[in-house]
């Protein structure tokens, strides 16, 4: 008789319940700790500005991974890992979108002199 294996973690499957409870509790405690750490770092101004920014970003990314693993159980997906693949593609698009926008807009600000900006504004409001 063929055994029916659950493909994804799904509430309809009664598989190893204890593991999932433990994973939710671990995820919850880790998330609370990470959030509180980030808050205390910023609230106390523990580091210089650029290190604070890097620290908060690193803690947010860590929490993203923690919640993906412990709340959404991405690590328990059986092969082929379609959900993981789709997520990797999403992350690629998000990185291009966010850092591409910041890059372009920064360059635009950098390359425009105040005279150019004034000339542009006059052209726009002149109407001719």
């Amino acid at each position: 008789m063929k055994d029916i294996q659950p493909r994804v973690v799904y509430a309809g499957h009664k598989d190893d319940h204890n593991y999932t409870l433990r994973s939710y509790i671990t995820g919850f405690i880790l998330s609370i700790t990470l959030t509180l750490t980030a808050f205390l770092l910023v609230d106390g101004h523990v580091f210089a500005r650029r290190f604070l920014i890097a620290g908060v970003a690193a803690l947010a990314l860590t929490q993203f991974i923690v919640q993906m693993l412990f709340f959404l159980h991405l690590g328990r997906e059986s092969k082929p890992r379609w959900k993981l693949l789709v997520m990797c593609f999403m992350i690629l698009i998000v990185l291009i979108l966010v850092f591409g926008s910041i890059w372009i807009m920064y360059n635009l600000n950098y390359r425009m002199t105040p005279q150019q900006i004034n000339a542009y504004m006059q052209n726009q409001s002149g109407g001719i």
Binding site: A11, G12, T20, D43, F71, I93
Partner: protein, 203 residues
Amino acid sequence: MSEVLPIAEKISRREEKLESDDRAVFGFWIYIMTDCVLFASLFAVYAVLHNNTFGGPAGKQLFSLPYALGETFILLTSSFTCGLAVLAAQRRNKNQVLFWFGLTFLLGLSFLGMEIHEFRDLVLSGNSWRRSGFLSAFFTLVGTHGLHITIGLLWMGVVMMQIVKRGLSRGNIRRLTLLSLFWHFLDIVWIFIFSIVYLLGAV
């Protein structure tokens, strides 16, 4: 009639049903990923505009960090209780499912209340979305998240009513599984809002 069916056919039918549920989860997962791209574009807008305060106040003067931390903890706890509701559904314990979903609903509602209160204070003090590019981007980003929370709460109310009426049927278990994915996803988006808008705004 079902006794007459050969065992192999029964199993293949069951497998088909399981597969269709898996497909529903996967399809919903793809929707969530596209929603991430929507939020990413709003984050990009915020990143570009966050210095354009037009002589008005910046995030440092406007946001209260402990207040935002409270919101974060409430949403995080609701994500956890939502997971407990899914576990209760695995054990087919209807009352526990309703209890944990009820708790998740109340936590989500109080999060939404805190957010509306914050928006109200900002607008009443003259710092609405019309004040500056920074505030337009802020209200769009956080407001879109709040809208998602509102939709999630409505959905949760409907699912709870369905469970009360029809119990933990196959369809209801599929609904609550998809809902829990949505709710966890909203919590993850909020982590980035808390880190980028509130924490980095105060650095």
